[in-house]
Structure formats: structure tokens, C-alpha cells
Amino acid sequence: MGLREFSLRAFLKKNFDFIAGIFSEVGLTLIVMGVTLAICVLLAYTSQ
């Protein structure tokens, strides 16, 4: 398929599960960071 026939929409539709899976895994790491950062901020705040 040439570059002219490339359709981002078709590509995303075809690989939706894969791309959404990557976002899920990165999302998990963001949850880990968010929770631990919140705890750190809370700990630092309560100790002052």
C-alpha cells in the first residue's frame, strides 16, 4: 500500500485492540505513579 492510500482511520480500526492494550499498560504505570505520588505528598504534608 502506498503512502497516498494510507488511511489513519483504517489503521486505527484494524489495530484498535493493540493500541488500546498499549494505552492500558501505560495507564497502569500512570496509576502506580499517581497513587504513590499522592501518598508521598500526603506523608510530607502531614509531617510538617
Binding site: 492494550g21 492500558s24 504513590t36
Partner: protein
């Protein structure tokens, strides 16, 4: 009855080994491309010597031990144990010839640390190392631990279905994603390359934002992505990620470390559409629990001593090291000397326990593994229920890992055997380190770092440490990577050969 060893046994192992030895030679061509790109022509002969020795060894094994006999479980386990010795010894030749280390022993240490995805280093001056040699160190981690050298050989060379399955067991990656093992190998490589690209983009973007020139940002990003996904922990900087003093590089590292510590089966399920699995999976829940619990305790302990006072500093120092330890990566954002002399004993001990537990099973991380810890905990609860309920009551247990898996006594026993073996080796390693004059907490920290293939260091691991300790840690890294059982089979093989000889 255990049968005596035959010449055929040795031929099966040697012939299979020859293909991996050839592969090491072929893969050493890749750093040559890096050397040509950066104009480091003076180091190319060192790679060529490594390639030549690999090809000569491979040819000797191939021609003298050629056989059509099929591989059995014992052969696969012995072969796996030997591959993790032979491949690093060959790949470390260029490191030694380039004078990156002070001796071949140190270069071998670097090779084993690389292949096993540990990250402890004996290189004398990382900051001034040629880029191609530095690339080799990082590539070894991606190849050895990120993908698995046997997996690479299966996907490229192909082999019989049975021998491949057995070889996977030897590599402590009992992955059963697809019925065809060659297809499974290619899926593992595909997943690894996908996250390598994502990691490189994240690290590079963070590096450029931190003020690095684009060329350096790409080189550092690629190398850190390789060792981050492999949960290896080698760095192109002697101070590891501390060098950059940049929160976004640390965030990129956390993303890639946590992803690297996840189970391959989980990657396959999630990338294949089963996205809810990521929060239902027992192993992921145990990982989150340990990260939060250890994060809170280490942060509270450091806060108590006023080492770090802001929430951001606590996150970047304590939580970062908890994640680095739990995922068995080994990236550091505080100097080794601070871990040894400034950090409190309680934090050092908690990080040691975190390292011993390690990441998910069938992942790039080391340690006892979260799945086993979860299974042992559930098994304990099951036993307590059994004791409290009437005799006639049937106590059933299960855990969710891709599917609902029944918790049988056999599953619990398997987990307990590996956990016990780890704890015995950990105790022995720590005692040997203490015997060399180091404090108990630092000895426990460094031993768990070597055994669980982590790479965090309090500074014990250095070119000046005693040779006996270097050999001890090399053994621990090797045994930890293979989850010990393959080592026992190899030792059994040697004892059998010594006691009963080798028959025709």
C-alpha cells in the same frame, strides 16, 4: 533409577549449544554497525576477535558433536544452564579487549550481569567508554533478559517442537502463549520490540526536554529503553539516571520498568483485546500492593530522618527505588554511597525484601516472583481455613491469572521449592559477603541485588572488590536467572559423570 550418562547425552547438548554459540558470533556484528556509525574504527578488531572465537567454538561443537538424537528435559536444562555461562564469556571478549575492565574476570562479570539482566557493573569508566562497547553492554541485557537468547535462537533457527518447549523451561520462561513455540518466540520478540520503540521515544523526548543534544538523547534513550524493558539496569552514565537530574527521564524509566516487569502472557492477553485482565490479574494486584506498601514504608522512614522533605523528592528518591527494586531493574537516582552511608537500615532492608520478591513470572524481571508469593499467601489462607473448618468441609482455592487457576497442593509446592531455594542461596550469599568485612544490611542488599538480577548497589560491587566475591556474585546472578533448578540438574549431571563415568 537415574541412568548413567552416555556420549549421546553430551552430543545432544554440545550440538544444540553450537547453534547458540554461532548466534552470539552473528549478534556481535551489530555493535560493529554502531562503531562504524560513530567512527570508532579502533574498537572494531575487538568485536572481530569475539566473532572469530565464537565461530571457531561453534564449528568445533557442530562438527565433532553432530547428532540426530532428540533433546530430552535433562538436556534442555543443562543446555540452558551452560548457555548462560558460555554466551556471556564469549560476548565479554570485546569488553575485555577494549580495556573497559581491568581483567577478563571483570569482563566476564559484566557479561553475566548483562545477559542475566542484573546491571551490577565492574566497568572502570562508563562515562568515557566507546559508544559501541556501551551499546554492546546494553544490547546484551536486551538480548539475554529482554527477549531471551534461547527465544531468539528458536525464532531464527527454528527447531523441533519438543526440544523448544523443554528449552523454554530451562530459561525459566515457561510461556505457553501459542501452540507453536516458534510462533510464541516471535510474539515475545514482537512485544519486546514494540515496548523498546515506545521506551526509546519516551526517553528521547525526555532527554531533549532535559537539554541533551538530539543525538545523545537518542543514543541514551535507546540504551536505557533496552535495559529498562529488560529490567536490567545498565546505564550509559556512571551515576545511572541521577546524572540527568530530570523528573521526566525518571517518569519514562518508571513506565518502561513497570511494563518490563509484567508477565508475557498478560502482555499477549491485553494487547490482544483482553484489557480488563490488567486489573483482574492476581500478579498485577500483588505488584501494586507491594509497590504501595514498600513505597509508604520507605518514604515514611526517609521522612522520619528528614532526608527528603517534599512530596516530589520522596517520590523521586524513595518510590523510584522501590519500583526499581521491585521490578528488579536497578536504575538509581541516588549515589551508591548514599545508600550505604546515608539511607537508614530499615529502608535498605525493605528494598532487599522487595528485590528478593521481584516482578511477575514469565517476565524479564528476576526474584522469587509475585505469582509465587501470591500463590504461597493464598495457600496459607487456604490452610488456615482448613484448620478452622470442620473435618468434612472441602476447602477449595483458586487465583486469577489470565484464567481462573485452581490452587492445588502441587502448585503451592512448586512455588515453595523455588522460594526456599532462593532464600537458601540468599543466606549463603549474604554470609559470604559479611565474611569479606561488609555490614550485614549492605551484604543482604547486595546479595539480593545479585541473586534477583536487580543491579542496585550500595557500592560493594566495584572493580576493587575481592575476586572471591566477584565469583560469588557471578554464581548468584547465574543461579537467580535460571531459577536455580537448571543449576541443580547441571550439578547432578557433573556428579553423575564423575561417579559413573560416561558410557557409549
Amino acid at each position: 533409577m537415574i541412568l548413567p550418562l552416555t556420549k549421546d547425552d553430551l552430543k545432544v547438548i554440545g550440538y544444540s549449544m553450537s547453534k547458540i554459540v554461532y548466534l552470539v558470533g552473528v549478534l556481535l556484528f551489530l555493535p560493529i554497525i554502531v562503531a562504524v556509525f560513530y567512527g570508532e574504527f579502533d574498537v572494531i578488531p575487538f568485536f572481530l576477535v569475539g566473532i572469530a572465537i565464537s565461530f571457531i567454538c561453534g564449528s568445533l561443537l557442530y562438527h565433532f558433536l553432530k547428532t540426530k538424537k532428540e533433546m530430552e528435559l535433562k538436556h534442555a536444562l543443562v543446555m540452558a544452564a551452560l548457555i548462560w555461562l558460555v554466551a556471556p564469556l564469549l560476548a565479554s571478549i570485546p569488553i575485555w579487549l577494549a580495556n573497559a575492565t581491568t581483567s577478563y574476570l571483570d569482563a566476564s562479570f559484566e557479561g553475566i550481569s548483562g545477559f542475566t539482566g542484573t546491571g551490577l557493573t565492574l566497568v572502570t569508566d562508563i562515562d568515557h567508554l566507546s559508544r559501541s562497547i556501551n551499546f554492546l553492554r546494553h544490547f546484551l541485557q536486551f538480548l539475554g533478559d529482554g527477549i531471551g537468547i534461547i527465544v531468539v535462537s528458536l525464532s531464527i533457527l527454528g527447531t523441533t517442537e519438543m526440544s523448544s518447549v523443554l528449552a523454554f523451561k530451562g530459561e525459566a520462561k515457561d510461556v505457553g502463549i501459542r501452540p507453536s513455540i516458534v510462533r510464541t518466540s516471535r510474539i515475545i520478540i514482537g512485544i519486546a520490540v514494540t515496548f523498546l520503540v515506545i521506551g526509546t521515544v519516551l526517553f528521547t523526548a525526555a532527554g531533549v526536554y532535559a537539554g541533551l543534544d538530539p543525538g545523545t538523547a537518542v543514543f541514551d534513550g535507546l540504551n536505557h529503553s533496552m535495559t529498562g524493558y529488560a529490567t536490567g539496569g545498565f546505564s550509559v552514565r556512571s551515576q545511572s539516571l541521577l546524572y540527568y537530574h530530570n523528573v521526566w527521564i525518571e517518569v519514562a524509566a518508571i513506565v518502561i520498568m513497570v511494563i518490563g516487569a509484567l508477565n508475557f502472557n498478560l502482555h499477549y492477553a491485553v494487547l490482544g483485546g483482553k484489557r480488563k485482565e490488567i486489573l483482574k490479574n492476581m500478579e498485577v494486584r500483588v505488584l501494586l500492593l507491594f509497590l504501595v506498601v514498600f513505597g509508604v514504608f520507605v518514604s515514611a522512614n526517609l521522612l522520619q530522618l528528614n532526608l527528603y522533605s517534599s512530596g516530589e523528592a520522596l517520590f523521586r528518591k524513595s518510590v523510584f527505588h522501590v519500583i526499581s527494586a521491585q521490578t528488579t531493574t536497578g536504575f538509581q537516582t541516588v549515589p551508591a554511597s548514599s545508600l550505604m552511608f546515608v539511607w537508614p537500615v530499615l529502608s535498605i532492608l525493605m528494598l532487599s525484601i522487595s528485590m528478593l520478591i521481584g516482578g511477575c513470572a514469565n517476565s524479564t524481571s528476576g526474584g522469587i516472583k509475585l505469582l509465587r508469593v501470591g500463590v504461597l499467601f493464598k495457600s496459607l489462607v487456604k490452610d488456615i481455613k482448613r484448620a478452622l473448618l470442620p473435618k468434612s468441609a472441602v476447602v477449595k482455592g483458586s487465583f486469577h491469572h489470565i484464567d481462573d487457576v485452581p490452587l492445588t497442593d502441587t502448585v503451592a509446592k512448586g512455588a515453595a521449592v523455588i522460594a526456599l531455594s532462593y532464600l537458601i542461596l540468599f543466606s549463603v550469599g549474604a554470609m559470604i559477603t559479611v565474611a569479606h568485612g561488609y555490614s550485614l544490611e549492605d551484604s543482604m542488599f547486595e546479595t539480593s541485588s545479585a541473586l534477583s538480577n536487580v543491579g542496585l548497589s550500595t557500592g560493594i560491587t566495584s572493580p576493587t572488590m575481592p575476586a572471591t566475591l566477584k565469583v560469588t556474585y557471578m554464581f548468584l546472578m547465574w543461579a537467580g536467572k535460571l531459577e536455580i533448578i537448571a543449576i541443580f540438574v547441571l550439578i547432578g549431571f557433573i556428579i553423575l559423570a564423575l561417579r559413573k563415568g560416561i558410557r557409549k
